[in-house]
Symmetry: C2
Subunit: 226 residues, 2 copies
Amino acid sequence: MARPRTPLLSRERIVAAALRLIDDEGLDALSTRRLATELSVSGPSLYNHFATKDELLDAVVDSVIGEVDLSMFSTDSASGTSGTSGSAGGVGITWQEALRDWARSYRAALAAHPNIVPVLAQGPGRRPNALRLADAVFGHLVESGWPRGQATRIGALMRYFVTGSALASFAAGFPADAEVYDAADYPHLGEAHRLAGHRGTVDEGAFETGLEALLDGLALRYARLA
Amino acid sequence: MARPRTPLLSRERIVAAALRLIDDEGLDALSTRRLATELSVSGPSLYNHFATKDELLDAVVDSVIGEVDLSMFSTDSASGTSGTSGSAGGVGITWQEALRDWARSYRAALAAHPNIVPVLAQGPGRRPNALRLADAVFGHLVESGWPRGQATRIGALMRYFVTGSALASFAAGFPADAEVYDAADYPHLGEAHRLAGHRGTVDEGAFETGLEALLDGLALRYARLA
DNA sequence: ACCTGAACACCGTTCAAGT
DNA sequence: ACCTGAACACCGTTCAAGT
């Protein structure tokens, strides 16, 4: 025991095991003792790698944010609404196309780990990947011609929508038990017990509808700028 | 001690004290022992009124949802896009106006208690006020002419946006410490340290911009229905 | 019915001790 | 430098005991 010649732990291994635990059993299941057991070490060992549990959680969160694709923003000069189309790549796409691709990647990364979204939604804090994300979105919108104040608001409202959509499944929030929906109390929810069974398509459809509506609404405002 | 002739506790008193604790010190500060101390009783006393801490939390959540105004949906027959305007009241307003008024009330209720939003966002479950809310929104959209599948999606996407906006302040998520934003790493965030100082207006502006964009985008789709 | 104290299996974190 | 066991002040919950 005591110090082994090759370390048993590393920040990477700890973060990976913590994320697995959170995904599988929820945020409450992440205890330092439980995590240590999962890694076959004793509880206090973790404190050689992270000062506190919060610092560990911060690292987990930033590893998730690091999965978000930002390549659509790395264009030399952002083009306006009337650019050549083609939704992939990184050059010559409109801000709407960039925002749409980014929102999908953002949601996919978060929805893969819904249990950690409440932590992540608190904002970038001092986490490098989260700050890089905010920088890329804001920078791209400003270079596309949005005034800085508007660009800030768009970054915010997109985060509202994406974190909200990844925080929890809408469909799964309705119990599959038909007896819950008493017609006298909830006259329009007679079919709500079927929602949970179509979880994936309902949530996907709602996200896509909302995303397109949002982009259309923003395009209306963009047209009024000039 | 033992049983007093007039009960020391009630579900209402417990819920109110729990919400106060969550608002003031966060979800983690709500422990049964701490809450009991706040109410001048011993820890196990709470179990005479709630079977588990989760059941107590459910009651707290539903009390918050109960604050959301749903009166804009209680109109005899919902009117279409071309109704007489006037954004208050409850009769003869368009679905857009109803949705806008509801979204503002919904956000206000949630934003007053941001620390409990992660719990609340899990869905209505079996909570009566949450089910009433879902019923009112869905019913109104269907009566306004939206197909049921679309109405479900709109209910979902509105919840995404509202819960996302109430979960955490966008502006407050950026540290006020200017040294965080190294120009080499984050070339566009030079002013981000000022965000936290304008917390209220930034988040309010983002919410209103997103809400109007969403409603405009949905109106485009509504027009295509007929 | 409604409160209490004692007890159980848990927490995050500190610290002295080992190599 | 990196791990350990013991210890501290906490948790949620159960239960027997009181009125």
